[in-house]
Amino acid sequence: MVKRVFQRPLNIIERILFIDFIKGLTVTLKQAFRRTITTHYPYEKLTPPKRFRGFLGHKVIDGREPQPAFNEWVERMKIEVRPGHSRCVVCLLCKRACPVPQLFEIEPEKLPNGKRVIGVFNMNLMLCTFCGLCVDACPVDCLFNSDIHETASYSRKDAILDLKALEEIGRDWQRRREKEEDKIWSDDEHRQRLWYENDVSIR
């Protein structure tokens, strides 16, 4: 037995003149002449918020590393600092934080002077869930989520990001959005700014 909570019966005038039909019709007519609220996606793209979790990337050394953490890690891991290249200190914390650790392939490269740099850093994004745990784990603010979200590709090979691609995404991000204020939500003005500034070419 369904209990009717509230239903006002229509009076005779409303029944004869279809008042409720007319109410509905006025609503749709009003909406029909208002501005459309859509984005023509392949032609126009909205900028995602800064905290958006898209493709991953490596920020490069540009003098804005988190201090003193970066210097401590460089000393501990005996890393050769090369400005303009990845900040990675080969600590493997990202791999450790990852729910699917086999997607990382990380190997250091030994230099003749006894120090090390990052040599191989492959990420298989086909296994990645974009959860961002590796980003939280990174002690030197190297690994990060960018706003690149068009991940479709013609081959499975293209889903694997190597160090070169990661660094390119990082440089692109640092140029475009590093200084932007960190907001959880984007206001309209921000969203209306189109995405065309992004010129990174991964493949």
Binding site: T28, Q31, F33, T36, H40
Partner: protein, 349 residues
């Protein structure tokens, strides 16, 4: 001999024009519907193919024609194909008795812009309209699918209910005009200086309800009810066969029934009417084209109204639909018939 040849040529030209109107405009109505629906939901609709999607129907047609023609296993191939023909032919045939304008003279020859001015035109319209139910019942049965069968049964139930109501609804205007010929009904309205809508609003409301029910438009689109039945009886049709069913049901039939409604209630090609006084024609500057423009304008407005309703209202249940037909619409139509019979002599004068 020459005379007969010329007459046949004229008829062939008329048929060609009517087919182009019925199927060409029908195809473009898909675009109109998508645009109207989109703007009501604050979307722009098709925008990519052509300027504001103007070439979209052609792209859709090419896509549907080049698709594979699938046939359901254990279906009945003969009835499956017959259903399509039986849906398409009666719907287009109704255009044979739609008058587009007054008699015109071309080269000293009087031409009526109507294919056949038979003296039982309206009877023909509703005879052919009832044939549509066979197409739908056959389509549902021949495709050997539960969804299709349920959809076609619902549609058959609705059409049987509303055929009665619509026939009694049009009886009022017919009584006032005193003829069944569509051409002469319009002529009678012009002579009496009266659109029958002014004294037959009840009949018009019943007619509109029946129009929506017979063409499967919202709020009576229960036979396709995409949330429950996928697309109802067209579920097993593929390619252009799938394209033709909605084309016929949603566009050609709405077009024909809107045209008949304009003929019966809004004086066909006549300009704006002031009851019993005369006609006001703001489009007089178009000269001999004005009646045709008026006719097209009225049909277009009625059609847009149907689309507007479609994208506003929710859907009735099947029992509510038949209850409205038998308990409300049919008594109203009968009552209207009685009142019309009383006042008809006043109109005839």
């Amino acid at each position: 001999m020459m005379e007969i040849a010329i007459n046949i040529l004229i008829i062939l030209i008329k048929i060609l024009v009517i087919l182009i109107i019925a199927l060409g405009i029908g195809a473009y109505l898909t675009l109109v519907e998508r645009k109207v629906a989109a703007h009501i939901q604050r979307r722009p609709g098709p925008m990519v193919v052509g300027w504001h999607g103007l070439l979209q129907p052609i792209a859709d047609g090419v896509k549907l024609i080049t698709k594979e023609d699938l046939f359901p296993r254990y279906g009945n191939r003969f009835l499956y194909n017959l259903a399509l023909i039986m849906a398409l032919v009666p719907a287009v045939l109704v255009f044979a008795v739609v008058p587009f304008g007054p008699t015109i003279e071309i080269g000293g020859r009087e031409i009526k812009p109507i294919l056949t001015d038979v003296n039982v035109g309206i009877l023909l319209v509703f005879g052919l309209g009832s044939l549509a139910v066979y197409a739908i019942a056959l389509a549902g049965w021949a495709s050997n699918s539960k969804y299709a069968l349920i959809g076609s049964m619902r549609k058959a139930g609705i059409i049987i209910s509303y055929e009665v109501a619509i026939t009694f609804a049009v009886m009022g205007p017919l009584m006032l005009a005193g003829t069944l010929s569509t051409f002469e009904i319009v002529q009678a309205q012009i002579d009496q200086k009266l659109w029958y809508f002014w004294i037959q609003p009840v009949a018009f409301v019943v007619y509109m309800f029946s129009l929506l029910a017979e063409t499967g438009r919202v709020p009576f689109d229960i036979q396709e009810a995409e949330a429950e039945l996928v697309t109802g009886f067209t579920v097993e049709y593929g390619g252009i066969k799938f394209g033709l069913f909605p084309l016929v049901e949603w566009y050609v039939e709405v077009l024909t029934l809107s045209a008949i409604a304009v003929v019966l209630f809004f004086g066909g090609w006549s300009p704006i009417n002031i009851p019993f006084l005369g006609f006001v024609d703001p489009l007089f500057f178009l000269g001999p084209f004005a009646p045709f423009v008026w006719f097209v304008l009225k049909v277009a407005l009625l059609l847009l109204f149907v689309l507007w309703l479609h994208w506003t209202l929710p859907r009735y249940r099947i029992d509510q639909i038949t209850a409205i037909a038998w308990k409300v619409m049919l008594p109203l139509a009968l009552l209207n018939l009685v009142i019309t019979a009383v006042i008809a002599p006043l109109i005839w004068r």
